[in-house]
Symmetry: D2
Subunit: 342 residues, 4 copies
């Protein structure tokens, strides 16, 4: 049994990790921390877990995390970097669901996240946890940077095109729409029901923190610099990301075959039949990414539709997938439940 701790369990990625790990046959949940809610039973805050999770939230100092095999950080940005060194030194492996270790260029990270990095020396060691790109490295990683939700959907959508080198890398466009849970479980006016329901808006057009993360991943796939315009939007649903991707084709190719081959061995990427329009609800609660590729009017623009559940493949599910890989388990363990539709 893998002894697991979770730091920061009161947010949506925390409760989603609990949902998945509580039924993981090879995981023993040892501790889940929360400063604000220490002492409260987890199932009081999240009654959906009544009967499944008996733990109480504990203070991080009393959680004995150094006795875990693995610690997940489901914390805001800028927390994991303060604790990573001590845990690694104690032999604990780490998966950070926040952004602390996602960007290899520390200066870029500090600019976008507006703080000094607490342990820049660990950044080079951190492995970016997108298994469809990085599986081999993840196996042996001590420190995994779990990708952001937008970056997961956008990268999985673009990878086949960029790896094949058949599109203009300088004019990529990612028009992405997210459900409101992507903003986290926090009291902010802009994500109140009465503000976000029956409404649609773009945000962060001048620059969103996920832009450098996506660009880094796409550049790696393309093996050259890329130019990306990334526009995120907020849509009135709870879960789900729909990324609509645009690129200009430079050489002809059978796009459908390209995608099917690229993901032939990937359990969690479903290339849909030609002509499909994947709906976000078809992955609700699951770790699946569904992709459809279109070439409207046989012109030179390729349109890729890529959808995920932002809390699963975009966060907690991908983290569990990474854990399974790191510990040599079947990659799909605890990730096989069928999406909830309707």
């Amino acid at each position: 049994m893998i002894k697991v701790g979770i730091v920061g369990g009161t947010g949506y990625t925390g409760v989603e990790l609990l949902r998945l790990l509580a039924q993981h046959p090879q995981v023993e949940l040892r501790a889940i921390t929360s400063r604000a809610d220490q002492g409260m039973p987890v199932s009081q805050l999240f009654p959906s877990l009544r009967g499944y999770v008996d733990l109480c939230f504990t203070h991080q100092d009393e959680a004995h995390l150094d006795q875990c095999d693995l610690v997940f950080f489901a914390t805001p940005n800028g927390i994991a970097m303060h604790h990573a060194r001590a845990l690694l030194d104690a032999g604990v492996r780490i998966i950070d669901l926040a952004a602390d270790f996602r960007i290899q260029d520390v200066a870029v990270w500090e600019k976008w996240y507006g703080m000094r990095h607490a342990c820049p020396d660990l950044v080079p060691e951190a492995i970016y946890g997108l298994p469809e790109s990085n599986r081999e490295q993840i196996k042996h990683a001590r420190l995994v940077a779990n990708p952001g939700c937008y970056p997961t959907a956008v990268q999985l959508g673009f990878l086949p095109l960029l790896e094949a080198g058949i599109v203009d890398c300088n004019s990529l466009i990612a028009d992405a729409k997210s459900g409101v849970s992507g903003a986290g479980r926090k009291a902010e006016v802009s994500i109140m029901f009465s503000e976000a329901a029956d409404n649609f808006k773009a945000y962060g057009v001048s620059g969103h923190r996920h832009l450098p993360e996506i660009s880094q991943g796409l550049a790696r796939a393309a093996q050259q610099e890329i130019g990306l315009t990334f526009v995120p939007h907020l849509t009135p649903m709870i879960r789900g990301i729909h990324a609509t991707l645009y690129a200009r084709i430079q050489c002809d190719a059978d796009l459908q075959a390209l995608y099917e081959q690229r993901y032939a061995n990937e359990t969690f990427v479903d290339v849909m039949p030609a002509g499909s329009h994947p709906e976000t609800r078809t992955v609700r609660g699951s770790n699946c990414c569904r992709i459809a590729v279109h070439r409207p009017q046989q012109g030179n623009t390729v349109v890729v539709l890529s959808i995920i559940d932002n809390l699963v493949k975009g966060a907690a599910g991908q983290a569990v997938q990474n854990m399974n890989i790191m510990f040599g388990l079947l990659e799909t363990t605890a990730l096989t439940s069928i999406p909830l539709l309707p």
Copy 2:
């Protein structure tokens, strides 16, 4: 392995049965029928099932249902009654998710459902499939009438009070609110998104088909005639029923203890701590019914809050629970997945 067939697989109870049965370790899905969509892969209509269900819809005549151990009818009212006799004669057991066998008084059934009953002689044999009331009878049943969604939530909420005989049975009130999926998957203007979203309404105040079914169950529990006012409402959510129940207390009692004792051995009924307000989302996708009992200002009105997922405990989940009981399996098999929150 239990050989299972499903008649009428294109509605919401059908796809929900598929979601649950596809991961049931002792079930072999043999056939799923649809007149309109025969030949189409199930996963084309419901992409959430891609990779989990490989069947195509077949015409009922070619489904070889008589070779099944169990057939679920996930059809509109008035279908199962035409096929029950032949299947039973072939040794097939039946769970009807529609209303054909729910009402023991055939005249009452014919009045509320507006059609002649096709096999009134089978009605006395039919067992009402509410395990928390009827478990022993279900074990040996050939023909189970799976309860309606409102009746499940209302009966589970009222049973302890009526069995204990401590409330006035003549003035029961059930104010129930349902998500829109309760209306089924059919093309009707009134349940379109633009009609049902951001809106709330009562319906069927003068009389809803679930009234006689609820009354029958409550009278059985109370062992006397009961008087019930039942008002259903449509609320803009996909899944969930919230029944708010009112009764006048006639003799004093420790209500919290009464409920806890009544359901102490029921896995799928969760009596919440005193003072709780169960939210429908805490059972989303699960077979759980959560109940809280209140006595405002210590007056003589008891208020019971009872919630279920209408498609699970209110339909497909309860049907699988009944199947598990009928075939001597662990009652929770395939029904243990954690509710999806948020």
Copy 3:
């Protein structure tokens, strides 16, 4: 022109007052205050008002409210009572949209609102602003306590029955459902989109602040003490209240005629045809209350369905209606726009 000031303009009742008053032909908006957002153009916070409202939020001390003819308090509970005396002394009339002056029994008020009343001597003078009950008194009022949203829907629904004395006053039940905007525009986790969407729950079953307000009004109408069970619920829509009311009939009556006669001269109360089920969206954005009265199965329980837009007839619209009455204007002025459906 009536010179009008608004204290506390950044909440939903504030922006709704602005929407209505900006097109009121006899109103001159002089000031709108906000401590937190002083200096900010109103239309920056609420872009829906671009081109209609040119004011900036000002600090209350610089708003010269004593030069207004009328001041609306769209503030949290417990604010207006600190400013009422000074304004009244300056000859300014007041409409308080919060609860400070709604309850005539100050001890009851202090118990439910958890604070000492700052000017109990003004309470007896305050007129409860439900025009359908109190129109004559409102005409001459200096200080109007604008009713709460639930109390408006519940009282308008019960009044005809209680005034006619045909129901048992000791067992009234009000099962009320509110859209989320009723909770105000404030950053709280429980009213976030991801918490409140696709969900339904009761709250405050043990006692809600609107209970004493409703009881006071119903007792006045019944001219006797009444017993009321009031259960509020949160439903995933932005605007709207649907009150489902239950009472036991003691003497026979033509209920439809009773309601039609009671409200024959009330522009803002629409008694719908027998058998109707009013939908909240049919009053979206309007000051109308629609009511339908039912007697299921001709039993002795009457069911009344009463709907309003909580921000209009339940708050800002009723306040404008009161203003029109106080200043001798046509009661419907600025309140004639057609509900927005769909």
Copy 4:
């Protein structure tokens, strides 16, 4: 008074026309037709109109439309073209809210709409009713083709760039998101609440009927052929379109100033301050189009955000605006109500 008839009043554009025209001071509503609901009071189908519209639906043959000054067709595509000739001959002016007269190239129209055009000879006379492009021609038009909802949002967003000739016309991208009311009021499974809520999807990626209409308008503005990729999406809200537009800049320009100047005299186009993200709810129920223009990271991609209420500026409101222009009225008559927020 302008005598007005409406053909096809039971859809969303029909009820929205009624909402606007019922309070238009210079309009006399003479008839509203419906084959299916003839004889039914309009306010029975749409209770929001109770007290505002006293008409019943009539059969078109009995509506005496030839005695109107103006007839609106709020019908499905392919209806108006059968009646236009007779009405024009009778001296009646026409505004068609469907697509029959929007495309000047009849062959293109017939290909995209899948039917033969019934009166191709009238097409050259039809004026495309986008007042911000065509105001002078609309004044004298007998037959106005009211633009589609997507085409309105997309054209208003792109016009300044194309007229100024500063972007590459061959790689325009319009990623558009629509509320569900854009699909009309019809019983189809895909737009049911339980299908469309909590879900997001693209549709018609291979080609949507609005593509040729948009292309025609953009080409006219650019005075050259254009290449456009248009991807529509369905988002779970009732009203609203959000078009996110992408173009490559070829020559430098002050984009903010360009947009402000272009629309300086347009009442219904609101160019928001630099850096804005317009939200669809800020135009809910109004005829306003709000636009923001961005240039992320000062790169060579311009991003334009353009929002409308699809039922108002995207349909009925624009039709009334066209009527006002055709009959020499103040263009804003009956179109001044403030958006409903929240």
